[in-house]
Symmetry: C2
Subunit: 325 residues, 2 copies
């Protein structure tokens, strides 16, 4: 059930089988599997799943290709709650390792927030990433288009950009490399650096060979209407017309609560085994936090893997489930 302030007291007294940090696609899938394994589950969600602001999921089997991400999440939450799982709106703060259990400290409530702790045998980190957006004076202007025809995921939306005039918004030479796989879909590409980084000779040469443009003047605002970006206005008042855009400014990883565990990483991503377990035996990581493709279908499958392995672990000690109080 959705935990209210009244329920919290009861929930802090018990030991969950699993606490899932993050109520996005991966976390909800894990929760559904866990509850169906009769494991006592709490999902801690701060309602900021990356898929929430996807206007259309185009590549999720079983859903019409214009389904908004938030519909998937709404259905998943209902599904999870119908199986008796607990759900709490809160911000994860810190985790304490107590050997046989972990304690998760969270902040509940946006104003006058209170600190509570919950105990669990296993933890699934499903708190994902959030994309950095181009920083403009008027961020409302960016949000007007992001998730519509201003994309953040090449794999998801390259198809939508095919043969179109695309602006790529990057924050570093490394991030700008997305241009080359984007070149599979379209030849008409302009890289906007906003003066944030130098285009070195090597990169410039590759861009020129392919006939891509570079624009280093900072952006004043995006131009368009009804969530459809039609171009970019630069601070020198020139306007560059575009049909669509791709943001590649890097991502913020929602995993600082795991830093103290010094888990094995590859770049910013957690390394996991085939069943989504990190280098800590009681901590699993699924979805965008871990090494691999950042795709909804992958996060959903990861949830099934982590839940199944936790069930196997628990079963080794207790051959039959016990009804929770």
């Amino acid at each position: 059930m959705k935990l209210t302030k009244q329920d919290i007291q009861q929930s802090t007294a018990k030991v969950y089988d699993t606490i899932v940090v993050g109520g996005g696609a991966g976390g909800l899938s894990a929760g559904i599997y866990l509850q169906r394994y009769l494991l006592d589950t709490l999902i801690i969600d701060k309602g900021k799943a990356r898929s929430f602001w996807m206007q259309e999921l185009h590549n999720y089997l079983g859903l019409p290709p214009d389904t908004p991400g938030r519909s998937l999440l709404r259905q998943g939450k209902e599904h999870y709650l119908s199986l008796g799982g607990d759900l709490l709106d809160a911000y994860e703060e810190e985790i304490f390792d107590e050997g046989e259990t972990l304690t998760v400290g969270v902040k509940v409530g946006r104003t006058k927030s209170k600190y509570h702790t919950f105990r669990t045998k296993y933890l699934i980190a499903a708190s994902g990433i959030i994309d950095y957006l181009p920083a403009l004076d008027n961020m409302r202007n960016v949000y007007d288009y992001a998730g519509y025809n201003l994309h953040v995921c090449l794999i998801c939306d390259g198809y939508e950009m095919a043969d179109k005039k695309v602006g790529v918004f990057a924050s570093s030479a490394a991030n700008a490399e997305v241009i080359f796989p984007l070149g599979w879909f379209t030849n008409d590409i302009t890289l906007f650096t906003q003066g944030l980084f130098e285009v070195n000779e090597d990169l410039r040469g590759k861009l020129e060979t392919r006939g891509y443009q570079v624009e280093s003047t900072p952006i004043k605002q995006l131009v368009g209407q009804e969530h459809q970006m039609t171009g970019v206005e630069l601070i020198d008042e020139r306007v560059v017309e575009l049909e669509t855009g791709l943001i590649s400014m890097g991502s913020q990883y929602h995993s600082t609560y795991l830093d103290k565990f010094d888990l094995e990483k590859q770049g910013n991503n957690l390394v996991t085994d085939k069943m989504a377990r990190t280098s800590h035996k009681r901590i699993f990581a699924i979805g965008d936090l871990k090494v691999g493709l950042n795709q909804v279908v992958i996060a959903v499958a990861d949830g099934a893997l982590a839940a199944t392995q936790i069930w196997r672990d628990v079963r080794q000690r207790i051959p039959h489930y016990t009804k929770s109080a």
Copy 2:
């Protein structure tokens, strides 16, 4: 598009980027991703996906938990066709390796069938498995309950069997081992061997310790009504009452067309790398054919992985897609 006899001629002349053998959840997901990568795809389907006869998918994020498997497949087929993918009702027969391409020979049509060949750069084997069912004189009687309260998948449906009186139908001592993880969900288990195998001392000891029953008399028929099995009638006319059942008779692997490639296996399952590639660089395997959990969400994710790797392979040689004729 759905290929008709008229279209076949045209399709046999070209080289597909990928042919997917099997139009189940994994194959359709692969097809959706491939078409969105602007790769020319043909799915060869004989319409026997394992999920087709699942009456209710209980653990698929985004779909209400009473969604029939066939709804998922119908939606997926529409989705795939809307992206311009080709689909052919046919039986795969044999594959020829020609180095840079593979040729797939198929039989089209149930009566007066004709043999055709299609060429492709990559192949995704998504033809899955089908469960062996208890062999009774009247198989109609088995089909009456299979997929309703007579289950084949413990991971999917253990939850539905919790605290119920369950009959397990096994064909070997190895298959009977499913009883122990089933014991997580319920203590009331009867193993039906039908005299197909000996319950050795070790297994019998473990079953007795847990208080499980063994019934070795062959089954005359399943008893019940309106797709709900309520028990089993044995050939000696005794009736054993049950509330639900789990079939564990092994599975037939639909992969004989791959035998000649001598691909690396683990038991009956194909070994694949992280991107679902087999030991043959042009052949990928997804879903139940490969090592791993036999779950719809896993097959769907596998499809995304295989398609993405094929796109990467193709892109290495050709940086920009070319419109197909």
